[in-house]
């Protein structure tokens, strides 16, 4: 039996960590060499909140009903509702281990605001609107954070809700470092003062820096300039993370050695009633998804209009968000939402108020749209490696009926989606949708280190749903049958 510490580096891509920067991140490299590692394939869709919920539950989005940040309201023609922690419809790993009286500390795990009661301590995520009573469990723990940081604890870089895109780059960089520094201070404080069996800490800074500085580091990015001043900054940040990883690894190693000595000297394990203190710590470093350059966005709703799947009563004077009131539903078969990946919903009979697509037509319509969308090339005429996922093929869970009817990764996510209507042409570059530097890639990272991690070396490809059963096994617990992933030994 072990204790497990998970450090989540949001958006850390396997290509950068395992390949490009490996030699410059010595502590991560050491964990990989002494332990095991794998490319961790993210959830479908690769949304941060869906992926983290998968990682911490061992289930897929159709099991818990999270496909993006918004949710349709009863399939009506209304603006989507924003989701929050209350929408997660499954048991999380901290709920599972609490049944065996085991304690969890969960810091910043996406989609945990407002926090729910857990056996341990929870601090909510980047979706925390402000430092209030709903961001820590127990609520009193907020005071402990206040003692450490005052009211300035950062849940994300856009403190004061300034527009992320408009933050000046130097300022943004400074905020990312500052926020991450706070995150680690809180981690060390908790390691020193609290008991836990499972500790999961997510770092959002890794995602933020990659989203906003990718064009400065990726030579193949359209906007890359060889002599830019931020060229080394992302690596500098990851080196800073690497130092903390080294520090944490040393802490766990020290603890394991002390314990071993104790056990050898006086057979302490037998006498000590609190056996939880006598467990080796397994150190896992994982990311929820990878990151890849974004070449631009495909104007998906405009394409649906042009191809007569979406009928409009009137078009906006300039490019604007699709207004459902402007849609001529009786002649509409499909519409799209999405930012990094596309989600297409059909206007389905007996589901949507004025649905027209019958169940019989469903599969045929999917195939027809796929066939046409697959022909879309990049703006410079290159073939795109576009991936299509049909709802019925990938979603089997209890919330499968809420899933979009199709999910599309243009050029395997190198091209994002613009769902505004009334754009000029098929492609968009600068949009109102935040940074256009990078989008999510499917390939994240998984590294496991510790005496009780049996596997060694490169394990190839594993899935994000494998993390929860792996942790449960290391904690010495049974894997509930609802957990879909496989154990990484």
């Amino acid at each position: 039996m072990a204790k497990v510490f998970v450090l989540g580096l949001d958006g850390a891509p396997s290509k950068l960590i395992f390949e490009k920067w490996k030699d410059q991140l010595p502590n991560i490299a050491k964990l990989m060499e002494d332990g095991c590692y794998a490319t961790l394939m993210t959830s479908i869709p690769p949304s941060t909140i869906a992926a983290w919920t998968s990682l911490c539950s061992g289930k897929d989005p159709s099991d818990f009903g999270i496909y993006s940040y918004t949710k349709r309201v009863n399939f009506e023609y209304k603006e989507n509702r924003l989701i929050n922690s209350g929408d997660v419809k499954c048991e999380m790993i901290w709920d599972i281990i609490a049944k065996k009286d085991m304690k969890t500390i969960a810091l910043h795990v996406p989609l945990t605001y407002p926090v729910k009661k857990i056996n341990g301590i929870m601090v909510s995520d980047f979706l925390t609107p402000e430092f209030n009573d709903k961001c820590t469990y127990p609520a009193e723990f907020k005071e402990e954070i206040r003692k450490l940081f005052g009211d300035r604890y950062m849940f994300d870089v856009d403190v004061g809700l300034a527009s992320y895109k408009s933050i000046e780059k130097h300022e943004l960089l400074e905020r990312i470092f500052k926020m991450t520094d706070m995150n680690f201070k809180l981690i060390y404080h908790l390691l020193k003062t609290k008991e836990w069996d499972l500790f999961i800490a997510e770092i959002i800074g890794t995602d933020r820096i990659l989203h906003t500085f990718f064009s400065y580091i990726d030579e193949t990015h359209r906007n890359y300039q060889a002599d830019n001043e931020f060229k080394e900054e992302v690596l500098r940040y990851f080196k800073f993370i690497d130092i903390h990883i080294g520090k944490l690894a040393e802490l766990f190693e020290q603890k394991n050695q002390d314990m071993q000595r104790n056990n050898e000297n006086n057979n302490a394990a037998k006498d000590n009633k609190d056996t939880s203190k006598n467990n080796n710590t397994i150190f896992i470093v994982a990311s929820d998804h990878g990151m890849a350059k974004m070449d631009g966005r495909i104007n998906l709703n405009d394409w649906l209009i042009k191809n007569r799947y979406l009928a409009m009563k009137k078009m906006p004077l300039q490019a604007a968000k699709l207004n459902f009131d402007d849609v001529e539903w009786k002649n509409t078969k499909a519409f799209a939402v999405g930012a990094y990946f596309g989600r297409i919903y059909f206007n389905l009979k007996n589901r949507e108020p004025e649905g027209v697509v019958t169940k019989k037509e469903y599969g045929k319509l999917q195939d027809e749209i796929i066939q046409k969308l697959a022909k879309i090339k990049s703006d410079d005429g290159k073939k795109l490696d576009t991936q299509f996922f049909k709802s019925q093929d990938i979603f089997k869970g209890t919330c499968k009926d809420e899933a979009p009817d199709m999910i599309i990764y243009f050029d395997n996510l190198i091209w994002g989606v613009n769902n505004d209507v009334g754009n000029t042409g098929l492609y968009s570059y600068k949009t109102t949708k935040g940074s256009d530097d990078a989008g999510h890639a499917p390939e994240g990272i998984f590294i496991m280190h510790g005496k009780e991690a049996k596997s060694k070396g490169n394990l190839g490809i594993k899935n994000i749903i494998d993390v929860t059963p792996t942790i449960l096994k290391k904690l010495g617990l049974q894997i509930p049958k609802e957990v879909r992933g496989k154990i990484i030994e």
Binding site: T48, S68, Y69, T70, N80, L82, N84, S85, G86, Y113, P114, K117, F126, L127, P129, E130, D133, K134, A139, D156, D158, L161, A162, S163, Y164, K165, S166, H211, V337, G338, A339, R343, N419, T431, K433, G434, S435, D436
Partner: protein
Amino acid sequence: MSESNITTISIPKPLAEKIKKRCEGTGFNSVSSYVTYVLRQVLSNMEQETENKEQKEAFSEEDEKKVKQRLRSLGYLD
């Protein structure tokens, strides 16, 4: 209650005197039993309050407004 289930807690003497006076005529036969009763009441009220608060913890409209703004600025919102 067996002896092993009882512990001693110190309170200032003047407070104990005050409690003693208050106990008179209430049916409590000792300061300890009165204090135990009061503390149980207080704790139970606090727990109830926490529960009520948890129920109210549903994502408020104000929360939704703020988070939407943040997501939009992150480029995440559809």
